[in-house]
């Protein structure tokens, strides 16, 4: 105690007047004394610098001590004085951590708390600065303890938003209150808001962003309104390869493999689950090798079941006679997977939202929030139908908000990949082609588990990320004319035979070392890479990758 006082005292010395300093020494001298005199001394110090945590602690010790020796009325009076003192401190610094924390503490110790007074204090404080999050925090505490009804709180946010809608805190508070007050129907999403109220909220927030389209708080709230809750975690796919004696399980979102059990023909199997790449700990995909001989005989039919005890779910998959592989899965189209970022509301509602946003865009063609929201709405409505428009809007976005070009490129890449996955699903093929789409990043690779041929040529990729290892069925990889320097994700792709990486940025032999994990790799095209300039590269490569029969440099 004494030690820390002096440490802090030293830090604060420069800020203090001589009077304060002598006071401080007095406090130090009173070490261990828990009486009102020290209370007064610390009060004098704190009123000139309320951010002096040790002194607040000291005060709390004294107050706790006094609680044991005083009557309740005296304690009430003492704490009430403390509250008025704190009010003075808050006038000095309305954002003082120490004062607000102490106030919270005092309020809970007060024998007969006056919550109405606390609420009105918060109201005054917020009217001066409606973004004072210390006050917001304290207020939430008061509301919780004193049990203010939710609808009253909603009106409170109405009022604050009415006077100034550039207020994240109010909008956010609203988003926590609405699901309590107007819950959606339980069978759909109980943590969502019922549609009737939702429409009112759309109107409110539209008023805000039409009034000031550059105010992001309203747009963020709008995103929340349009968004839907997290998707349920479940097994989306089970894939069996007879030849590789391998089972692959995909989840709807990344998870740990804890509680994953494999049963083959009624026999639980002792298997080791691994993710597609050692760097992926939470992974949407888990792989296990079966004990040799379990399913290798093509004349046998096998029934596999994957249980996931963590989620109380399971999925069956049958491997029929003569077949070399089998799968059981939900396709991206079935799940409307890529719409999940936006609402499940009826498309008519979304359509009208899209209309009002387009209307706003006509007035504010440069507004990035509006552009982005339009893109998201279009994705939610019809990702393939609006592809052209989406691309055009992305182009505008990059122009008006050049600081975030990369973000928009990544987002656009994501949408292009989603669209291609959808097209592939509709076509029911296992060939995935994304040439000349300006891709800057790869995502949704777990959806490409079954893909045998992938063509990523003529994009702006810098590498193949660890997630690329989830393309467990991949046989041919074409990624010419990118800027790839990193092949991290070409890892244990047991069926990969052909890799074409013309005109990329592979410079060292070590970059290619990862390819040794792909046992069947026979063709490798490295033309146009800096690595080809290295002397003796051919022999070095032959040594590194003995399986390769056709090497183009």
């Amino acid at each position: 105690m004494q030690f820390s006082i002096y440490i802090i005292a030293e830090c604060n010395m420069k800020l203090m007047t001589r009077d304060d300093k002598s006071l401080l020494y007095n406090v130090g001298g009173k070490e261990g004394v828990l009486d009102e005199e020290v209370l007064l001394l610390t009060q004098q110090l704190l009123s000139s610098n309320p951010d002096f945590a040790t002194l607040w602690n000291y005060r709390r010790e004294i107050l706790l001590h006094l609680e044991t020796v005083r009557s309740e009325d005296e304690i009430q009076r003492l704490y009430e004085e403390e509250l008025s003192f704190l009010e003075a401190c808050l006038k000095v610094n309305p954002k003082s951590y120490g004062s607000w924390h102490h106030r919270g503490w005092v309020s809970t110790r007060l024998p007969r708390p006056d919550w109405a007074r606390e609420l009105s204090l918060c109201e005054r404080c917020l009217s001066l600065d409606d973004r004072n999050f210390h006050c917001w925090d304290y207020r939430r505490m008061v509301v919780r303890v004193s049990g203010v009804p939710v609808d009253q709180e909603l009106q409170f946010t109405d009022r604050l938003i009415g006077s100034n809608f550039s207020n994240y805190s109010s909008w956010h508070y609203r988003s926590t209150l609405l699901p309590l007050l107007h819950p959606g129907s339980p069978e759909t999403h109980s943590h969502r808001v019922c549609e009737e109220q939702l429409l009112k909220e759309y109107e409110l927030v539209q008023n805000a962003f039409f009034t000031d389209p550059n105010d992001q708080s309203a747009w963020f709230y709008y995103r929340w309104l349009l968004g839907r809750g997290v998707c349920v975690c479940m097994i989306s796919c089970v894939y069996v390869s007879r030849e590789g004696e391998r089972v692959v399980v995909a989840f709807s979102r990344p998870a740990l493999s804890v509680g994953l059990l494999l049963v083959v023909d009624g026999q639980p199997q002792q298997v080791n689950w691994r993710s597609a790449h050692p760097r992926l700990r939470h992974s949407p995909m888990w792989i296990c090798d079966l004990p040799p001989g379990t399913i290798s005989d093509t004349s046998n039919e096998h029934n596999l079941t994957v249980h996931w005890t963590e989620r109380h779910t399971h999925r069956d998959c049958a491997l029929y006679t003569g077949r070399s592989e089998s799968w059981c899965r939900d396709s991206a189209t079935d799940l409307e997977l890529f719409r999940s970022e936006l609402s499940v509301e009826k498309s008519s509602v979304l359509q009208s939202e899209l209309q009002s946003c387009t209307q706003l865009l006509e007035l504010e063609p440069q507004n990035k929030w509006c552009l982005l929201t339009i893109i998201l709405l279009m994705r939610a409505l019809d990702p393939l139908g609006y592809e052209k428009e989406t691309l055009a809007y992305f182009q505008t976005l990059k122009e008006v908000d050049s600081m975030r070009t990369s973000y928009y490129s990544d987002l656009c890449s994501k949408f292009m990949i989603e669209n291609t996955i959808l097209k592939m699903e509709y076509a029911e093929v296992r060939v995935f082609s994304l040439c000349e789409k300006n891709l800057s990043t790869l995502c949704h690779l777990d959806q490409l588990l079954l893909v045998t041929h992938i063509n990523l040529s003529s994009n702006q990729l810098l590498g193949l990320p660890p997630q690329f290892a989830m393309l467990q069925c991949l046989e041919v990889l074409q990624a010419d004319d990118n800027a790839i320097e990193n092949l991290e994700g070409v890892y244990h792709l047991s069926k990969l035979e052909e890799v074409s990486l013309r005109n990329n940025n592979i410079t060292q032999l070590s970059d290619l070392k990862i390819l040794t994990t792909c046992p069947r790799l026979a063709r490798l095209d490295l033309r146009g890479n800096p690595i080809t300039q290295i002397a003796n590269i051919q022999s070095q490569l032959a040594e590194l990758l003995p399986s390769i029969t056709e090497l183009l440099l």
Binding site: N207, F210, T211
Partner: protein
């Protein structure tokens, strides 16, 4: 200070206590000049004054008699030396004309139903044969209808030119018996008779004339109606000079307008636009976009350069603003006529917008206790710095040096010769001979006491600015300021409505069409009102024209170079003209001195007793004060009143303002 005991030498003698003169007085005293500030009236602030109800009645009475009675002319020949000339000043105040008073609230409890219907039309009940039929009783809700018969019986016409006593008495005669018409001495005669009717009215919760008279001290009725732009020259000056500590202010809470027969709120701030239910989202965007542009329109000359020779109205139409948005911007935000040039319109809009949000949701402040406080605040500052005040005291004539043609001295009403190096005078004191080159405009004014808000809202305490665009082409746009009781300008339950426009005819001709559209007359005893008419009722009204001498140019006056003329109030909403004028005059008086530098805080000044009170009445705090401000205001008024006597050391204090509320 006793008028017969004045020092005989001053640097500046100032005649008239209007805003400009008071600011000049404060500025001069502040930089150490010896200032004598006099006014022939018995109250401060000249045509800027605020009166209690009874005070206003006396004022009406005074002006009805055609200005103040000529003062006794003293012989000043003994005071003049050789080589000196005399320039007499006017002893009559002719700045007020066309004064007319209407009272609608009188009721006779004894009268039967039918007759009661009538008595809402002023006076007509009293005429031996009530000429209006039943249905007319309903229609005749507005003063407009009175026009037909006001000549003879319904009104008290007080024209400054009219040879007073006789004619007025005649007109009053039929009324005086049971209507509360003002008798010539300005005291309500009907009071005694009416006390009988008061209980009946209380039951109906109506406000009788007696009640108004009884509560007359709660009124502070401004002769000119102005608001203070939060970033206007006046507010800046009040802050800069520290004079703001002498007054408290409230934010005007609403901007309203009259459109398509309805009073509606004008969305002018961001929060208003966001919250407006009337505007579509697209309109919201268009309005915000336009207003944002206006805030720094100079930065975007390409937006309006094609319109510099065309009207603001055309510019608005060209900016994709819908019709109601055009209305809002033109009439309520820019507050300019249609034909105003684009750049001027933009400047007005910008002025409005820049003032927005400094103290609240509208650009305007209103001083608690009325506008008359403001000149008095400056007078107080002048007194604090040694200025000497004398009311009911005037200057009869100027003593001119023949050689230089400059004013050497003045001779006051006591015949005392007071030498001075500068003389500042309000236009009203100048004789016609000296202002031949000056053309005067007029302001049409009306003051109504009403019983309800023009636009209902959650709170009854609203201060609203209402803009009424020209009702017909060629008519002037009329500005209404509706004050509630928390501004300490009217009694609880009533509202004070000020109407202002540049005159084209008499005040009543100009303003009555607006009054009759926006207001009704009180429901009389029999009819409880079918509720269909939500308009507030006018209980009492006065119309008058005030001279607007602001157009006058210095060169129009035939006066010595060291005589500076201050114009009275203008018709504009803000007071920028008067402040600018004061600044100019001060620059001529003291070219090298700073204009109103901050006055030291009261604690830095040596007082006898404990000074330093009333600092709580800080400018910004007061502006934010809400409902509770009423009590606070009263409190601080008391404080001020007590403070008034304390700074004797530093300067002579002005007389306390007429009938301070603190006495109650």
């Amino acid at each position: 200070m006793a008028a017969d005991n004045l020092p005989t030498e001053f640097d500046v003698v100032i005649l008239g206590t209007g805003l400009s003169e008071s600011v000049i007085a404060a500025a001069c005293a502040r930089v150490g000049q010896r200032v004598l500030h006099v006014d022939r009236r018995s109250y401060y602030a000249a045509n800027w004054a605020s009166f209690t109800f009874n005070g206003l009645l006396s004022w009406i009475d005074d002006n009805k008699q055609g200005g103040q009675s000529p003062e006794e002319v003293l012989d000043w020949s003994g005071k003049v030396e050789s080589g000196e000339d005399i320039l007499p000043l006017s002893t009559m105040d002719t700045s007020i004309s066309n004064l007319e008073v209407f009272c609608y609230t009188s009721e006779e409890p004894e009268e039967d139903e039918e007759e009661k219907k009538e008595d809402a039309t002023p006076i007509s009940t009293l005429s031996p044969a009530p000429q209006s039929e039943g249905e007319e009783g309903n229609q005749a809700t507005s003063p407009t209808d009175n026009r037909r018969n006001h000549e003879g019986e319904t009104t008290l016409d007080i024209l400054s030119e009219s040879p007073p006593e006789q004619q007025d008495q005649e007109e009053c005669a039929p009324l005086a018996e049971d209507q509360q018409i003002l008798s010539s001495d300005g005291e309500p005669q009907g009071e005694e008779q009416l006390s009988g009717s008061a209980p009946t009215q209380a039951k109906k919760k109506k406000i009788s004339y007696t009640k108004i008279v009884k509560e007359g001290r709660r009124f502070n009725i401004d002769l000119v109606s102005k608001l203070m732009y939060s970033r206007g020259l006046l507010v800046d000056l009040l802050i800069k000079s520290n004079v703001s500590r002498y007054a408290e202010f409230k934010n005007v809470s609403r901007i309203l307008t009259y459109r398509q027969g309805k009073v509606e709120q004008v969305p002018c701030s961001r929060a208003d636009v966001f919250g407006s239910k009337e505007l579509t989202v697209v309109e919201k965007r268009m309005l915000m976009k336009f207003l944002t542009f206006c805030l720094d329109y100079e930065q975007h000359p390409e937006e309006y350069q094609d319109f510099t020779e065309r009207s603001f109205w055309e510019f608005l139409q060209n900016n994709m603003l819908t019709e109601n948005l055009q209305h809002f911007v033109l009439h309520s935000i820019a507050m300019v006529p249609r034909e105003t040039h684009t750049e001027e319109g933009l400047r007005s809009t910008q002025h409005f917008l820049r003032s927005l949000g400094r103290y609240g949701n509208t650009p305007f402040l209103f001083p608690i206790y009325g506008l008359g406080e403001i000149p008095q605040c400056f007078c107080r500052m002048c007194a604090v710095f040694g200025g000497i005040y004398c009311l009911r005291h005037s200057v009869q004539c100027l003593v001119l040096d023949k050689e230089s043609g400059r004013c050497k001295a003045v001779i006051d009403t006591c015949g005392q010769r007071i030498s001075c190096s500068h003389f500042v005078v309000e236009d009203g004191y100048i004789r016609e001979e000296q202002r031949k080159g000056v053309e005067h405009k007029h302001i049409s004014r009306a003051v109504l006491i009403t019983d309800g808000l023009l636009l209902q809202s959650e709170s009854e305490q609203q201060i609203s600015l209402v803009t009424v665009p020209p009702l017909e082409p060629g008519a002037p746009a009329v500005r209404l300021v509706e004050l509630c009781s928390s501004t300490m300008t009217c009694m609880p339950g009533t509202y004070l409505v000020h109407l202002t426009c540049p005159s084209s005819g008499s005040a009543r001709e100009d303003l009555q069409p607006v009054v009759s559209r926006l207001f009704t007359k009180p429901a009389s005893a029999g009819e409880e009102g079918d509720g269909s008419d939500e308009r507030p009722a006018v209980l009492w009204a006065v119309y008058f024209n005030m001279r607007d001498s602001t157009a006058a140019d210095r060169s129009g006056y035939d006066l010595p170079g060291n005589v500076h003329v201050c114009s009275g109030p203008d018709a504009a909403l803000g007071s920028d003209h008067s402040i600018r004028l004061a600044q100019e005059v001060f620059r001529q008086l003291a070219p090298h001195e700073e204009f109103c530098p901050p006055a030291p805080n009261p604690e830095d000044i040596v007082y006898d007793g404990d000074g330093g009170q009333g600092e709580g009445a800080g400018f910004s705090e007061a502006a934010q004060a809400e409902e509770g401000a009423a009590e606070e205001a009263e409190e601080s008024k008391e404080k001020e009143a007590s403070q008034e006597s304390s700074p004797v050391e530093v300067g002579e204090m002005p007389d306390p303002p007429p009938a301070p509320l603190a006495e109650e």
